[in-house]
C-alpha cells in the first residue's frame, strides 16, 4: 500500500508516471491484446466476405428455406424432397443424437462389463476381456466401421432369401424388418401405469433405505420394483384389452412394405462405435477399480459383505471418482466419431449437411459452421452434465 501511495503522489508530480504502475500497465496490455485480436478477426471476416463476393459465391443463410430436392435414407421427422434445407439439418442432427445417445449408453454398459471382467479371478474371462480390449482399441475406427458394413452386414442374404424369424421379423442385406406397433385408443393407460410404477418404486426404495437405517432390516427393493414396473403396465394392458396392433412387413415388389426397419448403415455405425469406445471405457473402469485400495475390499469382507455387495457398495462408489473424468472424454470421442457415418452412407448431420447440402448450395462456410455448432453444443452439454455429476459424487471433505 505504501509503495502505491508513493507512486500515486509521484503521478501527480509527473504526468507520465502512471505508466510505471504495474496495474495500469497490465490493463494496457490486456486492452491492446483484445484490440489486436478483434482487428485480426475483423480483417479475416472482411476478407472472406470480399473474396466470396469477388468470386461470385453466394453467402448468408437464406438457403435454409429452400427445398432440398433430395431424399434421405432414414429420418425421425417427416421428410421428403420438398422439405427445406433447414429441415434436413434437423433430420441430420436428430440422427446424430440418436447414434450418439444410444452409443453412449451401450458403450457404458459394455465397457463396465469388460472392465470388471478383466479384473475377474476367472482366468478365461479376464484373458478374453484383455484380448478384446487390445484387439479393438488398436485398430482404427474407420476400418472397423467399413469391416462391419462391407465385410459383415453386406454379406447378409439378399432380399428374396431373407432370414426369417417366425415369419414376422426378417433379416437381409437391407436391414432388419420387424412389425411396427400401432397404438389404438386407450393406449395411454399403459404409459400412465408405468409412470405410477416408477413413482411407487422410488417411494419403496426410500422407505426401505430408511427402514434399514433405523432397524437394520434389509428389503428386496429390486424384486419389488421389477414386479411393479412389469406388472402394472401388464395389468393396464389387460384391463384396456390390449390396445396395440402390429403392422407386419410384407415382401411386395422391390422391398418389404410396412413394418419397422433398421437400416444396416445405422447398425454398422452404432455397433462399431460401441465396440470401439467400450474397449477404452473398459480400461478406464479397470483403472478406477484398481485405484481403490485393496484394504477397502478386505474391510468390506470382514464386515460380512458378499462379492456383489462389496463391488456395488464399497468399490464402485469410490472408483467412480477416478472413472468419471476420463469417461467424459470417451463420451465426447464417441459423439465426434459418429461423424464417420459418411463412410457407410448413414445420413448423420455431417453426411447430410457438410456433404450433400454443402455440395448443392456451395455455401461451405455456412454449412461447416452449422455442423461445427452441432458438435460444439453436444460436446459442451455432455461435458457440463458430467462435470455436474462428478461434483456430486466427489469426496466431500470437511
Amino acid at each position: 500500500m505504501a509503495v502505491r501511495g508513493i507512486e500515486a503522489r509521484g503521478g501527480r508530480r509527473n504526468g507520465l508516471a502512471f505508466l510505471y504502475d504495474a496495474r495500469v500497465r497490465a490493463i494496457c496490455y490486456q486492452v491492446l491484446t483484445v484490440l489486436l485480436f478483434l482487428l485480426a478477426v475483423g480483417y479475416l471476416a472482411h476478407n472472406t466476405l470480399q473474396n466470396l463476393a469477388t468470386r461470385g459465391i453466394a453467402s448468408g443463410f437464406k438457403f435454409l428455406y429452400q427445398p432440398t430436392g433430395f431424399g434421405l435414407a432414414m429420418s425421425l421427422l417427416p421428410y421428403d424432397e420438398l422439405s427445406s434445407y433447414g429441415r434436413s439439418y434437423l433430420v441430420g442432427v436428430l440422427n446424430t443424437l440418436l447414434v450418439a445417445s444410444l452409443g453412449v449408453v451401450l458403450a457404458t454398459l459394455l465397457g463396465f462389463l469388460v472392465g470388471i471382467a478383466r479384473l475377474s479371478n476367472n482366468w478365461l474371462l479376464s484373458r478374453l476381456a484383455g484380448m478384446y480390449v487390445e484387439l479393438v482399441r488398436n485398430v482404427p475406427l474407420l476400418l472397423q466401421i467399413l469391416l462391419l458394413y462391407f465385410g459383415v452386414l453386406q454379406t447378409l442374404p439378399s432380399l428374396r432369401e431373407s432370414l426369417s424369424i417366425g415369419g414376422v421379423v426378417f433379416l437381409n442385406i437391407r436391414g432388419v424388418f420387424a412389425p411396427a406397433p400401432i397404438l389404438q385408443s386407450g393406449f395411454a393407460a399403459i404409459p400412465i401405469a408405468f409412470a405410477v410404477a416408477v413413482a411407487a418404486s422410488f417411494w419403496i426404495w426410500r422407505w426401505a433405505r430408511r427402514r434399514q437405517r433405523e432397524t437394520g432390516q434389509p428389503f428386496q427393493t429390486g424384486w419389488a420394483a421389477a414386479a411393479l414396473l412389469l406388472g402394472l403396465p401388464a395389468v393396464a394392458a389387460l384391463l384396456t384389452g390390449m390396445p396395440v396392433s402390429f403392422e407386419y412387413p410384407v415382401l411386395q415388389g422391390f422391398n418389404f412394405q410396412g413394418g419397422f426397419v433398421i437400416i444396416p448403415e445405422f447398425v454398422a455405425l452404432l455397433a462399431a462405435l460401441v465396440l470401439y469406445t467400450a474397449a477404452f471405457i473398459g480400461e478406464v473402469v479397470r483403472a478406477g477399480i484398481l485405484a481403490v485400495s485393496h484394504g477397502q475390499t478386505e474391510a468390506a469382507r470382514s464386515l460380512g459383505l458378499g462379492d456383489g455387495q462389496t463391488l456395488r457398495l464399497v468399490v464402485i462408489p469410490q472408483a467412480l471418482r477416478v472413472i468419471v473424468p476420463p469417461l467424459t472424454s470417451q463420451y465426447l470421442n464417441l459423439t465426434k466419431n459418429s461423424s464417420l457415418a459418411a463412410a457407410v452412407g448413414f445420413p448423420d448431420v455431417v453426411q447430410i449437411f457438410s456433404g450433400t447440402v454443402l455440395n448443392q448450395t456451395g455455401q461451405a462456410i455456412e454449412c461447416v459452421a452449422m455442423v461445427m455448432l452441432v458438435y460444439f453444443t453436444i460436446s459442451l452439454s455432455i461435458s457440463f452434465f458430467m462435470n455436474w455429476y462428478n461434483r456430486r459424487i466427489a469426496l466431500v471433505e470437511r
Partner: protein
C-alpha cells in the same frame, strides 16, 4: 479429414487478400505444373492405368491444357476429388481446373462461382438394374431402393423423376462411386443411377457385367465438361481453346500421327493459323504461337481421345452417338479459330 480441408479452405479464403480473379495462367506457369482436379477413379474417363499414370477421356483435357501452356502434356499434377470435395477444391484454388464428368447446370454456373468452358461429353442420367429383376422400364421401379452418389445432380434428378411419375423410392447415399458399385453389386439396392457413361464404365467393373442392364429411359440432360473459377477470363480462354483445338483438329482431319505432315503441306488458312505456321493467333493467348500443334501432337484430336478411352473398341464400349462431330450428325462443334 474433410473438416481439415474445409478449414484450410476457409483460412485460404480469409487470407487470400483480393487475389481472386487475377492470373491463374501466371500462377500455373510459375509453378511449372497444372493442378487438374479429376475423379477418384472412373474407368475410361479418369483412372490410373497399369503403369500408375492417370489416363482417360477427362484426363486428356488436362493434358491438352498442359500441352498448350508448357508444350508438355505430362506437366500435370492430378488431384483426385470426390463429388463433394470437387467444388471447394476449385473455389479455394487447390486445383486450376476441374475435368471430372461434372454436369453444367445453371446453379453451378451462377451461384457456385464457376465458368464451364465447354461440353466434352453429352450425357444423360440412366438406371442400371439386375437382369434377374425382369424390369424393362424405369416406370416399373416404384418402391425400389436406389443407390446414388451424394452431392451430384443425379441425386436431384432422381428425386424429380420419381416425384413426377408419382413413384416412391428409398435412397442409399454414398460418397464414392466405388462404394456404390460394391453396395449395388452385393444387393444393398435394386437400382444404380448415374450418368449413362458412368453406368457403362461401372458395369465393366462388376463381378458379372452381363447380369446387369441399363434401362432405356434417359431422364435428364447431363452436359459434362471442364470448368474453371469465375472471373479469370484469361485462364478460362486458355482452357476453352485448348479443348476447342482438339475439336477443330478432328474437323480438319488432323491427328497426332499426321500433324507434322499437315503442318508442312497444308494450304488451308485455318489449319495454317491453328498450327502456328501463319499469323500470331497463338501468342494472343499469352502462349507459344504453335500451342495447338503441341496439343494435337501430344494428345490427339477429340475423336482419337474418345476412341482410345471410351469408344466401342474399349471395354467401356460407348457408341459415339451425339458425341460425334456436328458434321457427322452429333453435337460436338467448335467456334472457328480465326
Amino acid at each position: 479429414m474433410r473438416f481439415v480441408g474445409y478449414l484450410a479452405m476457409g483460412v485460404a479464403a480469409a487470407l487470400a487478400a483480393g487475389q481472386a480473379g487475377a492470373g491463374t495462367l501466371d500462377d500455373v506457369k510459375k509453378r511449372g505444373s497444372l493442378l487438374c482436379g479429376v475423379t477418384t477413379g472412373l474407368a475410361g474417363f479418369a483412372a490410373p492405368n497399369d503403369k500408375g499414370e492417370w489416363a482417360g477421356f477427362d484426363v486428356d483435357v488436362c493434358r491438352a491444357v498442359a500441352a498448350a501452356v508448357f508444350g508438355d502434356a505430362t506437366k500435370v499434377k492430378y488431384v483426385p476429388t470426390t463429388a463433394v470435395s470437387r467444388f471447394p477444391a476449385l473455389q479455394s484454388g487447390e486445383v486450376d481446373l476441374l475435368s471430372r464428368n461434372t454436369t453444367w447446370t445453371y446453379d453451378r454456373d451462377v451461384k457456385l462461382g464457376f465458368d464451364f468452358v465447354g461440353v466434352s461429353f453429352y450425357d444423360g442420367q440412366g438406371f442400371m438394374v439386375k437382369k434377374g429383376l425382369n424390369v424393362k422400364s424405369a416406370l416399373q421401379l416404384n418402391g425400389a431402393t436406389v443407390c446414388v452418389q451424394t452431392g451430384t445432380s443425379t441425386e436431384l434428378n432422381l428425386a424429380d423423376y420419381f416425384r413426377a411419375n408419382k413413384m416412391s423410392y428409398k435412397p442409399v447415399i454414398y460418397e464414392k462411386a466405388d462404394e456404390i458399385r460394391v453396395a449395388y453389386d452385393q444387393g444393398r439396392c435394386d437400382v444404380y443411377t448415374t450418368d449413362r457413361s458412368g453406368l457403362a464404365a461401372q458395369r465393366t467393373q462388376m463381378s458379372k457385367p452381363d447380369d446387369h442392364v441399363v434401362l432405356p429411359e434417359v431422364i435428364s440432360k447431363e452436359p459434362l465438361g471442364p470448368l474453371v473459377r469465375h472471373g479469370d477470363n484469361q485462364w478460362g480462354d486458355v482452357v476453352r481453346w485448348a479443348f476447342n483445338a482438339m475439336i477443330i483438329a478432328e474437323e480438319k482431319g488432323i491427328t497426332a500421327a499426321n500433324v507434322d505432315q499437315v503442318k508442312a503441306s497444308s494450304q488451308d488458312p485455318e489449319v495454317r493459323r491453328l498450327l502456328g505456321v501463319e499469323g500470331d493467333f497463338g501468342t494472343r493467348l499469352s502462349l507459344e504461337n504453335d500451342w495447338p500443334y503441341k496439343v494435337i501432337k501430344q494428345v490427339g484430336n477429340i475423336g482419337e481421345s474418345y476412341e482410345r478411352h471410351i469408344g466401342p473398341k474399349t471395354p467401356i464400349g460407348l457408341d459415339r452417338g451425339v458425341n460425334n462431330l456436328w458434321s457427322s450428325g452429333g453435337l460436338v462443334y467448335s467456334p472457328p479459330y480465326r
